[in-house]
C-alpha cells in the first residue's frame, strides 16, 4: 500500500470508453448518483481548516530534535529549526518563555520541546510554538553552567591576575548569606573561636529559589559600600545543583567581579564548583573554611610581626653588645682609666666632666643593654599575652563566657601595658640621672647640650632631672671660651 502511495501520479487518468454513455454509467452505480455538492474552498478557508485541525489536534506536543538555524530577533523571540535525520519543522519560542530557560538555545543542541502547532496563514506554513525547551544529554542546568562559564572565561573574569589578596587584618568582614542558613552560624562560630575581636557586617540575602541571585548580587553591591569592610564572604551551605543555582547566575558572577574588595566564595561542599567560585578572589569549599581563610591571613600577619620582632631584638642586641665591648675595652685602658684622676689634679671642672663622661658612657651602655632586655621582655609579653588570650578566648567560647573573658583580657592587657611603661621609664638610659646628674637639652629637645656656646642668652633650654623636667631661661653664660672637648 505504501508503495502505491509513493508512486507518482499517472500522467493522465485513463479516458473512459468514448462509447460508454455517461448517464447509463450513473444509473449503473446509484451510490455515485448523488455526489456531494462540490464544495470549493477558498485558500483562506482551507488554511483556516488546516489551522483549526492542527491547532486543536496538536495543542500540546512534546517533540525531540536538534536545534539549528537559531536566530534571535530584535523582538527578543527566537526562531529556529528542529530537525531529525530526515525531516524538520520550524519553531519559535517567544521572549516571554525564552527568559525562563536556564540555558541558551544554540545550534546543535538536542532538545525536547514542548509546545503547540500553529499555522502561519499568510504563508501556509506551520511551526511549533514552544513554551519550553529542555536540553537532552546534559541537564539544562549543567548546560547553562558550561555556557556561562565559557563566556565569562572568555571575558577574562577567571584570570589569576584579577585575584586580589586578602587583607592581613580586615577592619570589618562582610558576609552575604541567608540569616536562616547554617552558613552564617558556621562563619560566626569560627571567627568567634579564632578571631575573637572580629567585626562582622552581615547582609542577609536569600540564597535559593526565585529571586535569590538578584538579592545576592544586590547584597554584594551594598556591602562593598560599607565603610571599613575590606573582605566579603558570600555563600551558603551545600545542596543540590538547583539549590546552589543562584551562585551560577550571571548577575552574581558580575557582582563578585565588580566588588571593590576581595570576595571569598563559600558555596556548598568540597566537590561543588559554582560560577561564583571561579570569579571570586578566593574560593573556600565551605563557609567555615572561608572564615578560616580570613583568620589565617590574620595569623600570617601576626607571624610576620613576631618574626620581625625576633630579628629586631637580635640585631639590636648584637649592635649594643658590639658597641658595649668597644666602650669597655676603651675605658679599661690604663690611659683612659687614669684620665679623670689626672685631670682632676689640674682642672677640677674638666676632671669632673671627664669622670662623668666615663661613668655616663658605661652606665649608658649598661642601661641600654638593660633597656634592650626590657623591651625584649615587653615584646615577649605581647606575644605570650596574645597567645594566652587566644587560648582563653577559645576556652571561654566553649563555655559560653566569652564576654567576661574578653573584658578580663582587656583589663589584663591594660595592666600589663601600664607595668611595661613604668618599667620602660625606670630603665631608660636616663635613669642614671637618679644619681643627681641632669641633662640639658636645647629648646626643641633634639640635642643634648654640651657646650654653652650653642645656646644664646635668653634662650629656653630643658633640663631633665631624675624626676621631672625643667624648662629654663638662660640668664647668663660662662666659660664660653672653652670649646666642647668630648
Amino acid at each position: 500500500m505504501s508503495d502505491l502511495f509513493d508512486l507518482p501520479f499517472e500522467e493522465e487518468p485513463p479516458e473512459p470508453e468514448p462509447n460508454t454513455p455517461l448517464p447509463a454509467s450513473r444509473e449503473a452505480s446509484p451510490a455515485k448518483a448523488t455526489p456531494p455538492a462540490r464544495r470549493i474552498l477558498s485558500v483562506t478557508e482551507l488554511t483556516v481548516r488546516v489551522r483549526d485541525l492542527l491547532e486543536t489536534e496538536l495543542f500540546e506536543v512534546w517533540v525531540e530534535g536538534e536545534l539549528s538555524n537559531c536566530r534571535l530577533w530584535q523582538t527578543g523571540h527566537l526562531y529556529f529549526t528542529l530537525k531529525d535525520e530526515s525531516t524538520q519543522i520550524r519553531g519559535i519560542i517567544f521572549r516571554s518563555a525564552l527568559r525562563y530557560l536556564k540555558f541558551k538555545p544554540a545550534d546543535g543542541v538536542r532538545v525536547v520541546a514542548r509546545g503547540k502547532i500553529s499555522v502561519y496563514e499568510p504563508k501556509g506554513e506551520y511551526q511549533i510554538v514552544c513554551e519550553h525547551l529542555e536540553p537532552q544529554g546534559l541537564g539544562a542546568l549543567q548546560l547553562a553552567f558550561e555556557q556561562l562559564k565559557k563566556r565569562l572565561q572568555a571575558e577574562g573574569l577567571f584570570e589569576a591576575s584579577r585575584k586580589r589578596p586578602l587583607p592581613s587584618l580586615p577592619r570589618k568582614i562582610g558576609i552575604v548569606t541567608s540569616l536562616d542558613g547554617a552558613a552564617v552560624r558556621d562563619i560566626v562560630n569560627v571567627l568567634r573561636r579564632r578571631y575573637s575581636n572580629a567585626h562582622l557586617v552581615i547582609r542577609p540575602a536569600r540564597v535559593q529559589g526565585e529571586g535569590a541571585a538578584g538579592e545576592i548580587a544586590r547584597g554584594l553591591r551594598a556591602i562593598g559600600r560599607v565603610k571599613g569592610v575590606d573582605v566579603v564572604i558570600v555563600g551558603r551551605g551545600g545542596g543540590s545543583i538547583e539549590d546552589l543555582w543562584a551562585f551560577n547566575e550571571e548577575i552574581v558572577a558580575r557582582a563578585i567581579a565588580a566588588s571593590p574588595v576581595p570576595v571569598i566564595s563559600a558555596v556548598g561542599h568540597e566537590t561543588d564548583f559554582t560560577i561564583a567560585d571561579f570569579v571570586a578572589d578566593l574560593r573556600a569549599p565551605t563557609p567555615s573554611a572561608a572564615a578560616e581563610l580570613v583568620v589565617s591571613a590574620k595569623d600570617d600577619f601576626c607571624g610576620r610581626i613576631d618574626r620581625l620582632e625576633g630579628r629586631l631584638r637580635g640585631a639590636a642586641r648584637t649592635r649594643v653588645q658590639a658597641l658595649g665591648r668597644r666602650v669597655h675595652v676603651a675605658s679599661g685602658r690604663p690611659a683612659f682609666a687614669g684620665f679623670p684622676a689626672r685631670l682632676a689634679m689640674r682642672d677640677r671642672h674638666a676632671g669632673e666632666l671627664a669622670h662623668l663622661l666615663a661613668r655616663l658612657t658605661r652606665a649608658r651602655v649598661t642601661a641600654q643593654g638593660r633597656h634592650v632586655q626590657l623591651l625584649d621582655r615587653q615584646l615577649d609579653a605581647f606575644g605570650v599575652a596574645r597567645r594566652l588570650a587566644s587560648l582563653r578566648a577559645r576556652l571561654a567560647a566553649a563555655t559560653g563566657r566569652l564576654g567576661t573573658a574578653t573584658t578580663a583580657r582587656k583589663h589584663r592587657a591594660a595592666v600589663q601595658l601600664g607595668t611595661c611603661a613604668a618599667r620602660l621609664e625606670s630603665l631608660s638610659p636616663l635613669a642614671v640621672l637618679g644619681r643627681g646628674y641632669a641633662v640639658a637639652w636645647n629648646a626643641d629637645k633634639t640635642r643634648v647640650l654640651r657646650d654653652a656656646n650653642v645656646v644664646a642668652r635668653g634662650a629656653v633650654i630643658h633640663v631633665t632631672l631624675s624626676r621631672g623636667e625643667l624648662t629654663c631661661d638662660v640668664r647668663e653664660k660662662r666659660g664660653t671660651e672653652k670649646t666642647e672637648s668630648f
Binding site: G174, V184, S196, V320, F382, L402
Partner: protein, 81 residues
Amino acid sequence: MADPSIKDFEAAIAELESIVKKLEEGDLALEPSLALYERGVQLSRFCHARLEEAERRIEILTERGELKAAPPSFGADDDRA
C-alpha cells in the same frame, strides 16, 4: 594608641621591616641604633595594639543600608559586657 607618625598597619610593618634590615646590615653608632630599635618596638607595639583594639561586633546591613546590631542569638553575647 594613636601615633601620628604611623600611618597605618601596612606602613607600620613596612617601616619595621626596613628598620630590622638597617639594624642587621648597617654599622650604625649606638645612638642611632638605639633610636631605631625604639622606633621598631614602637611600631610592633602599634601592630599588636591594632590586633587587639577591635571590638567584637556583629552587625546586620539592612535593605535600607542601615547597620543594626545583630540579635543576641548571633553570638554577640559580649555586646556591652
